[in-house]
């Protein structure tokens, strides 16, 4: 445990002593603010129209804070898809490039400790990003009273989704010495997992189910609606574990190939 903590601490220090952390966080905060504002004005407009209709057809209840948070957090899931490869790209590729991988793999550490340390470091950074979405989200609580249940499940969904993507990025980072290549391949791989949804819409009924199941974003829908379903939790957890296991195997094969 102490070994894992040492690796996490070093990685977090590395994030914040390079410009990457600041660039990623700044752009993330900027984009989340921008999208929040856009979604807010859209929902307000819809609210205005609903109010006008209500005069003719009678009042219909409308959960405005819920609509805003749902729209906003769904958008965040797409932005994270672009951001996470930036925080995983260097995790192993930089170690390989600098030769420090030789230090990690000859220290009295197990490969599992190395992989978990890196994974949890990126996970911690991701938590900081999620935390920053509370800057716009707090507005909902300041000026309204949103139902906390769906927001809680939405964050749980985002957390599981983010950790799964991080594990994929971590694995891809072991494959190359070049962090730009790692970022691009991770990005491509995650996009593929996202876009199988599009393929699914044209597919036949049998393969359609499989493709829909594989789509990394479709599993978020229920979380966003406030539904906590085990099958989605299992999907993200298994995706994460498979990617972590592949990372572990990749490090092992690194030793064999030298």
């Amino acid at each position: 445990m102490r070994n894992i903590l040492a690796i996490i601490e070093r990685e977090l220090r590395a994030y914040f002593s390079s410009p990457i952390a600041y660039v990623v966080l700044t752009i993330f905060v900027f984009l989340s603010g921008l999208f929040f504002r856009t979604i807010l004005s859209q929902v307000l407009q819809m609210g205005l129209m609903a109010a006008m209709q209500a005069q003719q057809l009678g009042p219909r209840p409308m959960d405005m804070p819920g609509m805003i948070s749902r729209g906003f957090l769904s958008t965040m899931s797409v932005i994270l898809l672009f951001m996470i490869p930036m925080i995983t790209m260097g995790l192993f590729s930089e170690e390989k490039k600098r030769g420090t991988i030789e230090l990690l793999l000859t220290a009295p550490l197990t490969d599992v400790q190395v992989v978990l340390g890196k994974f949890l470091a990126a996970g911690t950074f991701f938590l900081i990003m999620l935390g920053l979405t509370w800057v716009p989200m707090s507005i909902l609580y300041l000026y309204g009273s949103p139902a906390s249940g769906p927001i809680l499940t939405a964050y749980l969904g985002l957390l599981l989704y983010g950790l799964a993507i991080i594990a994929i990025g971590l694995f891809i980072s072991t494959l190359t010495e070049n962090q730009i290549i790692a970022a691009v391949i991770s990005f491509g791989a995650i996009m593929m997992l996202w876009l199988v949804d599009v393929l699914a819409s044209n597919a036949e009924s049998g393969s359609k189910d499989v493709l829909t199941y594989l789509s990394i974003l479709s599993h978020l829908d229920d979380f966003m609606k406030g539904v906590l379903s085990t099958s989605h939790v299992i999907f993200y957890l298994s995706l994460m574990l498979v990617a972590l296991f592949m990372t572990y195997r990749s490090i092992d094969s690194l030793r064999w190939r030298g």
Binding site: R13, S17, G99, T100, E102, A107, P108, G258
Partner: protein, 317 residues
């Protein structure tokens, strides 16, 4: 302290080292001498557990490197060919990190970091960012990292590379000072370096050990003596005795054994070809003569590839 037996590493296309066997006693400084690409780094990487061997075994302090890698790694301080440094960290922060992953107890980390910094004289740059250090300082931070936790075995891959002449002397003195309490294996392609620091030298070329000797004898070899390798299938003790008794033979040493096949290194008098005599002795005794090779020429070739003069290295800095 270190026992290497029949170590072999094969890649898809080539064999990096083949049937390398040697032992290092506690407190000894062993030099690995060979041209670039001879297999020095590969051997060291296998001993430290960075990569597994294709065949053969390595034991450090009785622990097998493949079966009990963590026990072995706890006992080894390793300086890879390029020092494994994180450029964005400062020297103290880096050494504290290495101390932590090496399992130095929490309350001893500060004193341990201070100790190794004093040892390699880098205390004056302890707050500096590693990226901004000169090559010599970086190399010394790398050595400091290997010394953390006071491991009984030190594996140093080209420890003086990139240093200026004064620093080279300092590092050599440092390594000599480690002997006794530490077992040191260092690699180099500079002949005078092993003469000055090592108790024993292994010369390796194209993945095979071609000579094991003291630096003094090596110098003698360089001046010329016949060296012959013989591989015989037969009882080791008898073969050894008969070979020794052959006229013209100065010394015989067994290099390694595999399935009853024994490989010997024979030193013969200069300018006297004893190969036919050796062949006769083996065949007449009814043993199998598997290989007979004169190595004098190849040894010379290797020396030619080595940096034999310190001046060359200095001028390149």
């Amino acid at each position: 302290m270190i026992k290497v037996e029949n170590l072999t590493k094969r890649y898809a296309a080539k064999t990096a080292i083949e049937a390398v066997s040697f032992e290092v006693q506690k407190g000894e400084i062993l030099g690995f001498l060979g041209p670039n690409g001879a297999g020095k780094t590969t051997t060291m990487r296998i001993i430290t557990g960075f990569m597994p061997a294709s065949g053969g075994t390595v034991r450090v302090d009785g622990f097998d490197v493949f079966d009990t890698p963590l026990e072995v790694r706890r006992r080894i301080g390793y300086l890879p060919e390029s020092p494994p440094l994180y450029p964005e960290m400062n020297v103290t922060g880096y050494l504290r990190f290495v101390a932590k992953i090496k399992g130095v107890p929490k309350d001893r980390i500060d004193s341990e970091v201070k100790r190794v910094m004093d040892r390699v004289s880098i205390t004056d740059v302890k707050e500096r960012i590693i990226a901004k250090l000169s090559k010599g300082y970086k190399q010394r931070v790398g050595i400091a990292q290997a010394l953390l936790g006071d491991p009984p075995v030190l594996i140093l891959d080209e420890p003086t590379i990139g240093l200026d002449p004064k620093q080279i002397l300092e590092v050599r003195e440092l390594i000599k000072g480690l002997a006794g309490n530490h077992t040191v294996v260092l690699s180099t392609h500079i002949l005078p370096e092993v003469e000055q620091t090592c108790h024993r030298v292994i010369i390796i070329d194209r993945g095979r050990i071609v000579a094991v000797d003291t630096p003094q004898n090596l110098r003698f070899q360089l001046q010329g003596a016949e060296r012959i390798f013989v591989e015989v299938a037969g009882p080791a003790g008898e073969v050894l005795a008969k070979l020794r008794a052959t006229p013209g033979v100065i010394n015989v040493r067994e290099l390694n054994a595999q399935n009853g096949q024994h490989r010997f290194q024979i030193e013969g008098q200069l300018h006297k070809d004893i190969r036919s005599d050796l062949a006769r002795v083996v065949v007449q005794s009814g043993w199998g003569l598997l290989e007979l090779q004169s190595a004098s020429m190849s040894l010379e070739d290797i020396f030619l590839k080595l940096t034999t003069a310190e001046e060359v290295e200095k001028s390149s800095n």
